[in-house]
């Protein structure tokens, strides 16, 4: 259904004739990814009961929040042109779609359950709940990073059984 849209995106040739734009955008995307994961892991470790345990959860979460949002915006701004440049190959790649679905789940999770627990008073959600929430967050975001790396490396139909592509 979205195939014409993906073809149109690729037809725009966002990088023009430059051979440097692709790698440059890619590198900024990676820098943003490292900052994003750092700000996420700092809070998730705290939820697990590790790292900055001398601070209340909400203090760690509030300090990390602007870095999570800022780096996420940087990821989107660099991720969109990276997708546009290779849109048809991405469209036919099941790993890309698993990454996108998981990314969607991750974003919703980030702004709902994880945010509620990370910003809460420790008396409202116990250590066990926080650990489950933090662990799920780590699994989701490291999986998104891993899937992104796998997109152009392992066969594109690897997850066809899951997303039907």
């Amino acid at each position: 259904m979205l195939e014409p849209f993906f073809k149109w995106m690729e037809g725009l040739a966002v990088y023009g004739a430059s051979i440097y734009m692709g790698p440059a955008v890619n590198i900024v995307h990676l820098v943003a990814m490292v900052i994003f994961l750092g700000s996420i892991l700092l809070v998730d470790l705290r939820l697990l009961g590790a790292g900055l345990t001398h601070q209340p959860r909400s203090v760690v979460a509030r300090d990390a929040y602007p870095w999570t949002i800022g780096s996420f915006l940087m990821l989107v701004v660099t991720g969109v042109p990276a997708l546009m440049a290779t849109a048809t190959a991405q469209y036919g790649n099941s790993i890309f779609w698993v990454k996108m679905y998981l990314l969607g789940i991750g974003v919703i999770y980030l702004f709902t359950l994880r945010r509620t627990v990370a910003y809460s008073d420790e008396r409202r959600f116990g250590a066990g709940t926080a650990q489950v929430v933090g662990f799920a967050s780590i699994v989701i975001w490291l999986s998104v990073a891993a899937l992104a790396r796998l997109i152009m490396m392992i066969p594109g139909n690897t997850f066809a059984w899951l997303v039907g592509n």
Partner: protein
């Protein structure tokens, strides 16, 4: 010449090398794990460096971040090094011929020396973590490690590459 001889010897003799070079999944999974461990190591290290510079996680003291996250950097770095060594194990001649790979190794040595400098500045007292020199060294660490990340990505392209195989 000597390093080239070592790379040639590794290429010819290391067990598992041909498997990792030729299999669909071996090298890809190794590279993906390297990226995941990079997110853990570099993500947390960047959070620390941004705190040292004085622009992130300001409600937590740099001293506390260092003390409570140090074991996590060490674990991340060990895992990153093991997967990095295995990547070189799999394709020693490929990496030998990559100019950016050697720049990356050189910058990692500088980043290591800088970590030693941070230690020499801060080991005397907790207050030294908030000094101007510690702030500067934190900025240097940030620049060096992001340069290492950039060069790591550039190794994947064919620029400044000599084929020895």
């Amino acid at each position: 010449m000597m390093l080239l001889d070592i790379a040639r010897w590794m290429d010819a003799n290391l067990p598992g090398g041909p498997y990792l070079r030729e299999s669909t999944y071996g090298f890809s999974i190794l590279l993906t794990l390297h990226v995941v461990f990079m997110c853990i190591f570099l993500g947390l290290l960047v959070m620390m460096d941004l705190r040292l510079v004085g622009i992130a996680n300001l409600r937590t003291r740099a001293f506390d971040i260092q003390r409570r996250l140090f074991s996590w950097y060490v674990v991340g770095f060990v895992l990153l090094s093991v997967t990095g060594l295995l990547l070189v194990w799999a394709q020693p001649l490929r990496y030998y011929g990559k100019t950016f790979f050697w720049w990356k190794m050189g910058l990692m040595v500088l980043a290591g020396l800088n970590a030693g400098w941070i230690h020499s500045i801060t080991h005397r007292s907790e207050e030294a973590w908030d000094s101007g020199r510690a702030k500067f060294a934190g900025g240097v660490s940030l620049v060096l490690w992001l340069a290492v990340l950039t060069l790591g990505r550039l190794v994947a392209y064919e620029w400044y590459t000599t084929d020895y195989f």
